[in-house]
């Protein structure tokens, strides 16, 4: 029974993928993906409850393992996966009507998205650094064709850069994995890559080798998480991919890659002391925030704007992880959930915006509040959530990270980070207000129809629900607080 429960988050999406492989895209089959994501979420909640009561559990002979941290990540994957797949049928209905896609494209898209969800679930359930690596590489392969789906020059270029840079980063992570395995074998830890045994025996690892291994692992997984300096793929890939895919990649995939970094940090802290990982992560955080702030000021494309905002938030996560300690780590996890929901909402909204206006340039969109009030409302609320306004949960998590940063001696870094966050917030508000407010006629030309475009009901519901959950979690973590506390414990103290 327990084994089966652990296999569900991986098995259900794979079954959905098989379904799409056999059947094609029809009004009836369009919702299989969303059902699979809902199943994943339900399984995730069940696992979380079980873990909260009874502690970590394993399956498949030690290949899969779940503790509080994995359970929380599964909830994140399930929630955002549900949001993205629920909006997919409406998105593809519009694409097929406009002639930009065929039912075959839609079926292939949903198949790959289902495999993508399964790979991410496998990554967070992996008990073993090697299996984690394989799962994350699998996500790169699944999303490679999703990014290049539209077959335009820009999309093909984005897909190429994405695959090459991410595979390079992942190759560095593989080298780090092999070196860690070497050090572990030498310290008598067997099997060499199992998280639990590594965390327990980390004190015996050779410092020199472990330093090189941790550096490579953090740089490698950091590439996949969009941290500078190897972030160049992110704006291109997230802006060229279709909206549901961007939502998933920005919302969840980056967080899953960051989850890998968190696991590596546990081992690094035990083997080398907290100083090494802290300096490294703080450096990566500030670099990412600087990159995001510099580019966002003069950004001209709203999808790239959202992508750079993801880099900013990943930088904040890295800062929180650098700070360490219970408060910071709980804030980091909450931030993953809140940012994921808000970003997914925004990307889904921007997908419909792109379909309605036909352009992704900020200056070409004006007066959205008049033309499409619901969409504009969701978009505006999403941006407010992103920049950390209460009651959204991003406020609570950013506050927590800042407090922990000051408390644990990262004062200067935190101050710099807050300044950069402020600059980014100003840029985001500026661009968004340009798009939402104002008179729509100049953009459309004189005499053009200004009837408001209607957002499909299902999509509107998804967006509002996503933002609502974000706000609710911001007010009170509720049932999640136990899980957050346990997960933070996992990372700081007892495994």
């Amino acid at each position: 029974m327990n084994e089966l429960l652990l296999l569900l988050p991986v098995a259900v999406p794979i079954l959905a993928a098989c379904g799409y492989g056999l059947l094609s895209w029809r009004p009836a089959t369009a919702w299989i993906g969303a059902c699979a994501a809902a199943g994943l979420l339900a399984a995730a909640i069940t696992i979380a409850v079980a873990v909260a009561h009874a502690g970590p559990r394993t399956a498949l002979g030690g290949l899969l393992r779940t503790d509080a941290l994995s359970a929380f990540m599964l909830i994140v994957i399930g929630a955002i996966g549900l949001a993205a797949t629920a909006a997919t049928p409406a998105y593809f209905a519009a694409e097929i009507t406009a002639g930009r896609a065929t039912p075959r494209t839609a079926a292939r898209h949903s198949l790959l998205v289902a495999l993508f969800l399964a790979a991410m679930a496998a990554a967070v359930l992996a008990a073993n650094l090697g299996v984690l690596w394989v799962a994350i590489e699998a996500t790169t392969i699944c999303t490679a064709f999703l990014v290049g789906q539209r077959r335009t020059r820009a999309a093909v270029e984005a897909a190429w850069k994405y695959v090459v840079i991410c595979s390079t980063g992942i190759a560095l992570a593989l080298l780090g994995t092999l070196l860690l395995n070497f050090a572990a074998h030498h310290a008598g830890i067997r099997p060499g890559l199992d998280w639990a045994s590594l965390a327990a025996g980390a004190g015996r690892l050779n410092p020199g080798v472990t330093q090189i291994a941790v550096l490579l692992l953090m740089l490698g997984f950091g590439t996949k998480a969009g941290l500078a300096p190897l972030h160049a793929w992110l704006p291109d890939a997230h802006s060229q991919a279709p909206a549901p895919v961007s939502a998933l990649m920005s919302g969840v995939l980056l967080s899953v890659a960051f989850y890998a970094i968190l696991r590596v940090k546990v081992i690094s802290d035990a083997a080398l002391g907290t100083g090494f990982a802290r300096t490294l992560l703080a450096g990566l955080a500030l670099a990412s925030l600087l990159v995001a702030a510099t580019v966002l000021l003069a950004q001209r494309d709203y999808k790239r704007m959202l992508a750079y905002s993801s880099i900013e938030h990943m930088g904040l996560l890295a800062l929180g992880a650098a700070a360490g300690g219970q408060l910071a780590l709980a804030a980091v996890l909450l931030h993953m959930l809140g940012h994921g929901l808000a970003k997914a909402t925004l990307f889904l909204g921007s997908g419909h915006l792109l379909q309605a206006t036909g352009t992704s340039r900020i200056e070409a969109v004006r007066g959205l509040a008049v033309r499409a009030p619901v969409l504009a409302g969701c978009f505006g609320a999403g941006v407010l959530a992103l920049i950390g306004l209460p009651p959204f949960s991003v406020f609570a998590s950013e506050f927590g990270i800042a407090r922990a940063g000051f408390a644990t001696g990262l004062g200067w870094a935190t101050t710099a980070a807050l300044v950069l966050v402020l600059i980014i917030a100003a840029a985001l508000i500026g661009h968004t207000s340009h798009m939402l407010l104002g008179d729509p006629t100049p953009a459309l030309g004189p005499g053009a129809a200004t009837a408001p475009t209607r957002l499909p009901g299902g999509v509107a519901l998804t967006l509002i629900l996503g933002l609502g959950v974000c706000a609710a979690v911001g007010i009170s973590a509720g049932p999640l607080s136990t899980l957050l506390r346990l997960a933070a414990n996992t990372m700081t103290g007892t495994p």
């Binding site: 073993n128 490679a144 190429w160 090459v164 390079t168 050090a183 890559l193 090189i212």
Partner: protein
């Protein structure tokens, strides 16, 4: 197999890995680069075979055969097909760093690899671990090729070179990361190459010649 012969053969295989890595950096014609890459696959399989014979491990023999088929057979075949489908331009004409400077940079990378792998060799000195700098040199050379070449196929070969180097380091440091992880890694490499090959074909359709310098539409 007695110790002396084992060390000789191990060193020969590592020397061949290094030489083929340098040749990829040296030559310009894409067809030659692909053949040299296939030769490196043979050298890698030979290295694993030597390790298998030394430790009498049937698992390693299977891995050696698998590596031979994958990296000296399947991957070069895929690359050659991609080259045949490419346009008439068959050479790397203007790399970002010219060939003579690349070779001197490779010398610096070799010394860097040696410096970086000192703690690794010191952890467990043996003829196998003493060859780790060779693996790391190949990784660095692969990364250099990936970053400084303009043609899609050269970048692909650079990535595969990195992968060969990482596999070498893996086998020289310990015997086993678990068969499942081995299989997973090989499968991922194969799928990555397939994906990149398909993308190369699409780049060919959209942009003409796969000169990645043309890919400059996305920028801030």
């Amino acid at each position: 197999m007695n110790d002396g012969v084992y060390v000789q053969l191990l060193d020969l295989a590592c020397g061949a890995l290094l030489l083929t890595g340098v040749l990829v950096l040296w030559r310009r014609e894409l067809a030659v680069i692909i053949r040299v890459f296939a030769a490196q696959g043979v050298a890698l399989a030979a290295l694993v075979a030597v390790l298998a014979a030394h430790e009498n491990s049937p698992e390693l023999w299977i891995v050696a055969v698998g590596l031979l088929i994958l990296r000296a057979g399947v991957l070069p075949l895929l690359l050659a097909r991609a080259l045949a489908a490419a346009g008439p331009a068959r050479r790397e004409t203007r790399p970002l760093v010219n060939v003579a400077s690349s070779l001197l940079a490779a010398a610096v990378l070799a010394l860097l690899a040696y410096a970086v792998s000192r703690p690794l060799v010191a952890l467990s000195p043996s003829p196998a671990t003493q060859a780790i700098p060779v693996g790391i040199t190949v990784v660095l050379i692969g990364f250099f090729v990936l970053v400084t070449r303009r043609r899609a196929l050269s970048q692909l070969v650079g990535f595969l070179l990195m992968d060969n180097g990482i596999t070498t380091v893996g086998f020289l440091t310990t015997s086993s990361v678990g068969l499942i992880v081995e299989l997973g890694v090989s499968l991922d490499v194969l799928l990555a190459v397939l994906v990149l090959r398909i993308l190369t074909a699409r780049i060919q359709e959209s942009f003409g010649d796969a000169d990645l310098d043309e890919l400059r539409e996305l920028h801030d």
